[in-house]
Amino acid sequence: MVRLNYDVIVVGGGPAGMAAAITCARAGLDTILLERGRFAGAKNLFGGVVYTASVLSLVPDLFSASRLPFERPVTEEGWWILSQDGVVKITHTNATLRESPPRAFTAFRAKFDAWLAKQAQKAGVLVVPKVRVIDLLIKDNFVCGVQTDRTASWDDHRPAQVKAPVVILAEGVNRILSIKAGLVPRDFSPKEVALSVKEVLQLPKGELESRFGLQKDTGLAVELLGEASLGLPGTGFLYTNTSCLSLGVGLFLIDYATHNIKPYALLEHLKRHPVLAPLLAEAETLEYGAHLIPEWGFFGLAKLCGNGVLAVGDAVGLVNPLFREGTNLAIYSGILAGKAAIYAHKKGNFGYHTLRLYEEALKDSYIYQDLRYFRKLKTFLQQNKSFFQTYPYLLNEVLHLYLTAQGRAKQEVFKEICQLIRKQRGVTGLLGDFVRAMKFLKGW
């Protein structure tokens, strides 16, 4: 780092930070991006599915590249609802989902984010890896730069300070700098984040395609419910990559602590599930990993900007776990924050009242509307346990009874089904759950 003054500093090289940096650099702003990993993506992990539209909004000539930064198109998706030894599968595919260009792809963070870094460099961003930002420089109530953990030069052993009138925080879920910037009053609690673990599994050659019925240009992305999370609020996932699988599971962090569940034991339990085990036979683990997902939602939302500072992506909590949105929201928020930085430079004013162009734009977008609409999601999931601990198992039992009813009086079978439902949830419970689910889905 020779020069230490820039127009914009972006902290963090994930999709949110890259989107912000690319947007700024394309408008001619002198932009530096600081990333603590050895390369952009080295510290990042997700399920993961990337939505094409969000990438196109940042890189319009995406499909002119000879090699795409993705794995497989997602052409079939849905849910596998697991009981202890069975499954009810609800997945969907149609011609639209198989059209080109695909609307979603499976991907790996270490590859996708590194590719985004290349796009950023092309746009003129100075991407500097292996540098950690340890603090913010604040003067007269304005964030005006960052303190790094790297020395300024060979001769000067003091930690280097990098200065810019706008600092964009794309620090990820552990929003430490956002707290220092005064954007969030407190740290999150273990009830507000999900801890997910994932394994990348290599199957013997050709087995991925044959076991999951895939062609070269088709792919499967399913969420695993019920036994995957031991009936606790949470989900598993199974995504097909080019030649391997991503299998993972996540619960609220508090539930691992309360029930003494080891995340890797939970994942192993899933791998040994009678339905999954044959699909994973002879699989070799290429990589294991873990990540926190910010699920504090609307009520835990950080302030989006302050004097000289903007926050984007996971650091703010822009995630919709119901619809598997995160990476796309990170990109959209990065673009909007970048636009506010450009506007501030045009005006020559970097105060909150200028930068809140970003806040206004985000509040006008579907991202904020969804956050508000699903503001009760966490409470709903944590209070309505039957959706995880009763219905997945009940559904399996009911379907089993129905599908094995041959050779019996069907009236007796239906009676048995009704008894089962009454025993496990009861008519009042069922009706109550229905009403609560409808109220939730209506956004009340």
Binding site: R36, G37, R38, F39, G41, A42, K43, N44, L45, F46, F108, R109, A110, K111, D113, P129, K130, V131, R132, D149, R150, V173, N174, D187, F188, S189, P190, V193, L195, V197, E199, V200, L230, G231, L232, L253, I254, Y256, A257, T258, H259, N260, I261, K262, P263, Y264, A265, L266, E268, H269, R272, T285, L286, E287, Y288, G289, A290, H291, L292, Q389
Partner: protein, 100 residues
């Protein structure tokens, strides 16, 4: 939650698949007061840490194997006594995912 016996897993086999650049000079995780852990009955850190950074030694003391840390941040907020001094590793050190 219905009681389940989850399988025993040797987490070291999983950690083995990860690539790390370990900072040999400085641990980014430490216990503020190691004595406090002895008073913690539940010790949830032994469970929730996804890479088993926190383990018990022969004397029943919690020990920190920061080398395996994937920097997720769970222990930063889930230690009931807030006894874990948490930091990111120095720039360039720590985990480096190949896939992620």
């Amino acid at each position: 939650m219905a009681a389940r016996a989850l399988p025993e897993v040797n987490i070291d086999d999983k950690v083995f698949t990860l690539k790390y650049y370990v900072d040999e000079q400085k641990s980014h995780l430490s216990l503020r007061d190691p004595g406090l852990c002895l008073k913690c009955a539940q010790k949830p850190c032994l469970s929730f840490c996804p890479v088993g950074v926190y383990r018990l030694d022969a004397q029943g003391q919690v020990v920190v194997g920061y080398q395996a840390c994937v920097e997720c941040g769970s222990c930063r907020v889930a230690c009931p006594l807030h006894n874990i001094k948490w930091d990111y590793p120095r720039g360039g050190y720590g985990v480096a995912y190949k896939f992620g």
